[in-house]
């Protein structure tokens, strides 16, 4: 089980802050594609990911128990 967090516009599009999915072992980029396809999220390709609060690369693997956050381009400051 991995925990997925959504923020900002992505959170509004999917209608929830987080979800749990049985996808341990998948790459960040495959998880993005799967979420985009199953939840109609057209902006996933512009979205960064962080695994356990560290920015991740598209080919990083999400392991059992990890928290992955999808991070649209930030606009703080």
């Amino acid at each position: 089980m991995i925990k997925v967090l959504f923020f900002a516009r992505l959170q509004e599009e999917i209608g929830k802050e987080s979800m749990e999915v049985e996808k341990a072992g998948v790459s960040v980029s495959d998880l993005k594609k799967w979420l985009a396809a199953t939840h109609h999220l057209p902006h996933m390709t512009q979205t960064m990911a962080a695994i356990n609060e560290n920015y991740a690369n598209d080919d990083d693997i999400v392991n059992e128990g990890d928290t992955i956050a999808f991070i649209p381009p930030v606009s703080g400051g």
């Binding site: 967090l5 923020f7 900002a8 516009r9 959170q11 509004e12 902006h43 512009q46 960064m48 990911a49 962080a50 609060e53 920015y55 991740a56 690369n57 598209d58 956050a69 991070i71 649209p72 381009p73 930030v74 606009s75 703080g76 400051g77």
Partner: protein, 156 residues
């Protein structure tokens, strides 16, 4: 101590309080940057703003910016607090304070901090206008993160 220096809060932020955190006997110069909600952007009138944060990671990234600053300008000390929630025009969104024995480093490090916040800290701004709302930074015309990750901290 580091926990106090870098924070994300839904309460109003005090410029004086954040600045006082970095004032030290060995320093003669402190720069403070205050980001406020601006009414007009590209001629369009903002009514209010909403800031949303991935709070735990945002604090971690602010701490990372603090570390980057101490590596680049070894005698400086930085404190940053970013506000979240619903803000009105002229409300304070972020305060960055940097102290240094001499002023040049304090200005440079402070400017570096605000640039890095806009690159790596997971905080988002939603503009509220008379005719709608929009999450800033979620359009194709803004940063596209070509490497999939935000840039490393070697800009300055």
């Amino acid at each position: 101590m580091a926990d106090d220096l870098f924070a994300v809060t839904d309460k109003p932020v005090s410029i004086g309080e954040i600045t006082q955190k970095v004032i030290r006997p060995e320093c003669g110069a402190v720069t403070t940057f205050t980001g406020t909600v601006r009414e007009l952007t590209n001629g369009k009138r903002t009514l209010s703003l909403e800031y949303h944060a991935y709070k735990s990671m945002a604090v971690k990234m602010l701490e990372q910016i603090g570390q980057e600053i101490q590596e680049k300008w070894p005698d400086t000390l930085a404190a940053i607090t970013h506000r979240t929630g619903h803000l009105q025009i002229s409300d304070i969104a972020v305060v960055i304070a940097v102290s240094s024995p001499h002023r040049k480093a304090a200005y440079e490090a402070n400017q570096y901090a605000i640039e890095r916040i806009k690159e790596i800290v997971p905080i988002w701004k939603k503009e509220h206008w008379a005719d709608g709302t929009k999450w800033v930074g979620d359009q194709l015309e803004t940063t596209a993160y070509p490497q999939g990750k935000p840039p490393k901290g070697d800009a300055l």
